[in-house]
Subunit: 249 residues, 2 copies
């Protein structure tokens, strides 16, 4: 028996995975921006010197991961948070009666937006060094006139240079859509840690609830392409008239 394997590389990577990585690279580099069409399967097959079927399988996986969006007869598009169908993809709070029909919070009040030095936990979450400059945003989201969500958001200062409270206030769609068009940052994945906590005075004041009453704490880290953390968000949700909906397959 020959102990040596036929190929020296123990890492076997299918062709379509390599193609997938190449497409991902073009997405990450900004060659194709959110909302735009990417080249047709036939063009990509020619560019990469593989069959259309191989390109198809690569795109299939990227579409399953919500990075691309296929539209029959029209082409394949880079997914975007501005898309009507997938707006507020990461917002799981829905009214107890009926489900939110892809529309977001009616009112969004920016309480503050300032530059601060990253604390230890913020730095860790964003893969920065302690003391690095970050943007801190506080806002309140309301549904039907009643405040329901208080959010504290931390963003690395460099990629979001120029972001102001005014700019956030004049934004109509989702904040993540603004990030795409203004800062070329696309959020593709998010992890949330959820807890029940007692409302502090600040919470109570801004959300019009009783001090010590139960609030849902939602701590999110959002990632761009390549699993780079780009946002830390600590949310406090009222869950007396709404609930956090999680569907599992």
């Amino acid at each position: 028996m020959v102990s040596a394997a036929a190929h020296a590389t123990p890492t076997f990577s299918p062709l379509y995975q390599q193609i997938k990585a190449l497409i991902l690279g073009s997405l990450r580099s900004g060659e194709w921006k959110p909302g735009e069409v990417i080249p047709s399967e036939i063009e990509l097959a020619a560019r990469f010197r593989v069959s259309q079927g191989t390109v198809r399988k690569a795109i299939d996986e990227l579409a399953a991961e919500n990075l691309l969006l296929r539209r029959q007869g029209k082409g394949t598009f880079v997914a975007t948070h501005a898309e009507q169908q997938v707006q507020f993809r990461f917002l799981k709070l829905v009214p107890d009666s009926g489900s939110r029909g892809s529309e977001g919070p009616a009112q969004r009040d920016i309480i503050e937006c300032r530059r601060v030095r990253a604390s230890a936990d913020v730095a860790k979450a964003l893969a920065l060094r302690c003391g690095d400059t970050v943007l801190q945003v506080r806002r309140v989201l309301s549904f039907g006139g009643a405040p329901a969500i208080l959010e504290d958001i931390w963003l690395p200062a460099a990629p979001f240079k120029g972001l102001t409270a005014e700019r956030l206030a004049t934004c109509k769609g989702p904040m993540y859509a603004l990030f795409e068009t203004e800062f070329n940052v696309r959020m593709v994945r998010a992890e949330e840690k959820i807890r029940a906590v007692a409302a502090t005075e600040t919470h109570a004041d801004l959300l019009k609830v009783a001090v010590g009453g139960p609030l849902l704490s939602v701590e999110r880290i959002a990632y761009t392409y390549q699993r780079e953390p780009m946002e830390l968000r600590k949310g406090y949700y009222r869950t007396d008239t709404h609930h956090y909906q999680n569907d599992m397959n």
Copy 2:
């Protein structure tokens, strides 16, 4: 398999979707049980008179939905909650430090298990009539000696005929694995509504927390094949040392 519906019927169903429905039927009927191998792709292609590629695409989708599990060189298997890799798939509570390594709660105490009449909300959740007989189970799950979860579970009486507190207490693995082997019920999907609530005296007593303190309320409806609701579960989680983890792609 090619239906001759070439009329004005707006219902166009690809071949592989029809194959998928047929495979689903066999799963539902119990022809192939959880943990068993299903026939090879070549066999299924012969049975259904289609190409292997078409069978493959049908199986691909079922595998993506966690109904089947492909294992290269061995075959395709019916997914099961007894599987080491996917045990406690629907349990999202993890310790704050480090993540649960596929092991579940160390201790599971059955507080009660009795037959009751379905209240309005239980009947609605389980698609039963108000007053129908249901089994009600209450239990406490502990991690590392400390109680962390109180659960009230309602099951339709008919499919779970013969289930007792003793049988539940002697069960080692996940409850859903017991359901598969003893009652031929496989849970494939679950919806959870999550809220923050204040602990009642009962909660406080069983979970060793303060009355009025924050608890995570997790209301789950679990479904078998074909989206039939088969379980209603109201859980109350302590989230001082653990958190509910939700990862979104």
